[in-house]
């Protein structure tokens, strides 16, 4: 049984409400932090824990906090990024819906560590019912003296505001989020300056994911060193994975980052295998932006090692044979799924969500979508595959924000690993609109290069 830190009490009836949450050990971490620790000590604990940002990039949280500029007389802000719009990712929603007080407590401790007296939760507009849950939790926390002026007699003030977005994926990018929070059009800013220096209203700002901030609570509870014992290597602690697609038991799972991908998909404790006895064809292990992997590369790395559910192992082999942990949106495709159609659907998403500020992303995403639509509808040409490769190559890395990269990577990976399927679509257009390419050789074990002779 995997150990849990975030969702260990999620099953308790009424944990959404303050009384139940408090009775089950809630706000103990906040009490400990505010009354017996200094802000620097909290940051130090988070650094020790090795916690990495759960929003997708995996940047060490403690390090991010220590970059925050602290000029005199200028307010600092903490912003919680709850604009979870990545296709396939729905872990933050679960957290906010079921244990909102965990997030509030995490925000309280983090704001204390950063010296922020105002904290914003920027929540995705489509999560229409969650702001009510959060507002209720905030009101309860206020009533019980965990928010407002002079919290629990410690002299620390904090107010948390919930701000709803208007449903733009790009507002999950931290600088676009800040622009949107300021009431402007959600265009990503050009960096530098980074938000840690000039963020919200030109003041130093830290933007963290919901899960990252919630994870601060167990870190303070059990201590950074103890937290670092969970997981493997530099992937410490537990991670929420939202599994979806062709799975027997899709849903949000909290995993200790020490299990293998195979165990996660097939064991009864987690996803319970693929329904109807189908075989695994491909998987996107970290939300729609990360490269897709065929079954053989997903379960074993190119070196023939077991692939684990960790930041490092999923990234093993770089983009040539690896992928990324991303935000933990685990999308599984069985043998009946068409990779071309799937890629087209993602390209359509990124075309729709591009903000239109910089030219490669604005024009390139639409172009990729149209070419992919042609291939999918049996109107493609052989040269279209190379054209797609060329377009994605020229978008990647040349844009202001990572949305350009996120649009380019899925297309690049699909062509890299599933070129056969694209070619089959182009060469057999009539067949391609009627049936799928099937599993083909995508699950065959890969020949492992003999390890270099030991010196």
């Amino acid at each position: 049984m995997g150990r849990k830190l975030l969702l260990d009490k999620a099953h308790i009836e009424g944990i959404r409400y303050y009384d139940v949450y408090r009775k089950n050990g809630g706000y103990a971490a906040a009490e400990k932090a505010l009354k017996s620790m200094s802000p620097d000590l909290v940051t130090e604990e988070v650094k020790k824990s090795g916690l990495r940002g759960r929003g997708g990039a995996g940047f060490p949280t403690g390090l991010k906090w220590s970059f925050l500029a602290k000029p005199e007389g200028v307010p600092r802000y903490l912003v919680c990024n709850a604009d979870e719009s990545e296709p396939g990712t729905f872990k933050d929603r679960y957290l906010m819906e079921f244990i909102p007080h965990l997030l509030i407590e995490g925000l309280l401790i983090s704001s204390f560590a950063l010296g922020a007296n105002r904290t914003y939760i920027y929540i995705r507009g489509e999560y229409a019912w969650i702001p009510d849950i959060l507002e209720e939790a905030i009101a309860e926390a206020h009533k019980n003296g965990w928010l407002g002026k002079n919290i629990q007699g410690t002299g620390f003030d904090l107010d948390i505001y919930v701000q709803r977005g208007a449903g733009a994926y790009i507002c999950g990018e931290e600088t676009a989020l800040i622009e949107s929070l300021e009431g402007k059009r959600g265009n990503p800013r050009i960096k530098p300056p980074f938000p840690a220096v000039k963020g919200l209203w030109q003041c130093p700002t830290v933007v963290n994911n919901v899960e990252t901030l919630a994870a601060v609570v167990p870190i303070i509870n059990i201590g950074g060193d103890e937290y670092a014992k969970y997981g493997t290597g530099k992937s410490t602690g537990t991670k929420l994975i939202s599994a979806c697609g062709n799975l027997n038991k899709p849903g949000v799972y909290e995993i200790d980052m020490s299990i293998s991908v195979e165990e996660f998909i097939y064991s009864d404790e987690y996803c319970g295998g693929i329904p109807n006895g189908k075989r695994l064809k491909a998987c996107i292990p970290g939300g729609s932006s990360v490269p897709i992997l065929p079954a053989n590369l997903l379960l074993k790395t190119a070196k023939g090692e077991q692939r684990m559910m960790t930041y490092e192992s999923l990234n093993d082999g770089g983009f040539a044979t690896g992928s990324m942990m991303g935000s933990g949106g685990f999308i599984v495709l069985d043998e009946d799924q068409c990779v071309v159609r799937h890629t087209m659907s993602l390209a359509r998403f990124y075309h729709h969500e591009s903000c239109g500020q910089c030219s490669p992303c604005r024009e390139g995403t639409g172009w990729m979508k149209k070419v992919l639509l042609n291939i999918e509808n049996g109107k493609g040409k052989e040269s279209d595959i190379d054209l797609l490769w060329d377009i994605q190559r020229r978008i990647e890395g040349n844009t202001i924000c990572p949305l350009g990269d996120a649009a380019a990577w899925p297309v690049a990976a699909a062509i890299r690993h599933f070129r056969d399927e694209f070619e089959w679509h182009v060469r057999h257009p009539e067949e391609a609109v009627k049936r799928n390419f099937g599993l083909a050789h995508y699950a065959d074990p890969l020949p492992v290069a003999a390890p270099a002779a030991a010196v």
Binding site: H352, S354, G356, S359, T365, W367, R393, N398
Partner: protein, 365 residues
Amino acid sequence: MAEEKKLFKVTIDNIPVEVEPGTTILNAARMIGGDVVPPAMCYYSKLQGSGGKCRTCLVKVSKGSDADPRPMPKLVASCRTTVMDGMEVANITSPEVLDARKGVVEFLLLNHPLDCPVCDQAGECDLQDLSYEHGVSSTRYEFKRRTFDKIDIGDHIKLHMTRCILCYRCVFTADQLTNKREHGILGRGDASEISTYIKNSLDNDFIGNVIDVCPVGALTDRTARFKNRVWFLKPVDAHCTCDKCSGKAVLWMRGDEIFRVTARKDKYGEVEEFICDTCRFERKDAKDWVIEGPRKVSRHSVISQGHYVGTRKPQETIARVMDGRAPKLLMDIHSVSEVNMPAVDLSKIDGPAHSNDFPKNNGAQ
């Protein structure tokens, strides 16, 4: 003596230059000048916050600084990246940069209508220059280009959104020159468009400057639309006494007729001083202006065709090589044709040459 400022040493395409801290790579390259200057479609030195959007000015930073010599992982927008001491930048010496720039030009032209033959901007269009230098001759785009309806924003300005490359220059201009924010971007992605608040007309004394900052033909002057091609007009520097602006402008004339008034632009296509709408749209009579003299236009520009500035006639060498003797001509062309009539100097005619510029009776005055 004032305290000496420490200057940063930067190398751009192996050319060293010393600049003040806080200068952007693009401005450092402009100090060197010539071919190493990256093209800029959205950056405008007079507008705060502009730049970083079009991605044509991408350069490679092969060495971050003396203190931290690591190269930057990605190509950076030179208009928004400030220099560091000891930075090494590769622009035209990096094949990667040139390839990326080619890609950006292709993206910019993807949905551009390429209606240059009927576009008023043709001849002074940044996108034309850019695609001439970095673009390819044909497109790989096989789909319908996006189109928008033309709209009038105000009495004097026509917005032709189809041509727009979304550089945001006009948005910054309207924001920074005028006091009301009613000109901005609507929509998202490739459907985003420049528009005004509920199709309001723009009325401000300086709003006409959005025409000058537009790098393409998306914003044009309705008082000069379709009146004449820019290369048939002669730009002259002129000034007037104006209570709103400096009154320093360029008149685009043919004979005594003023077709268009614009602000004076430097060699990077940037306005030197913004002018007011009265000067731009209403002072179309030569009597309103004091003409200073012809505007210097780069001799590579199509605008300077037909009027050559500072040309030197080739030296007559025949007499010298023949020891002072005159050549013996079988036939003098001037005895039968009016071509090269010494009495008529084409470069000194106002406007294009007409038949009545030449004497009718075979040279005999």
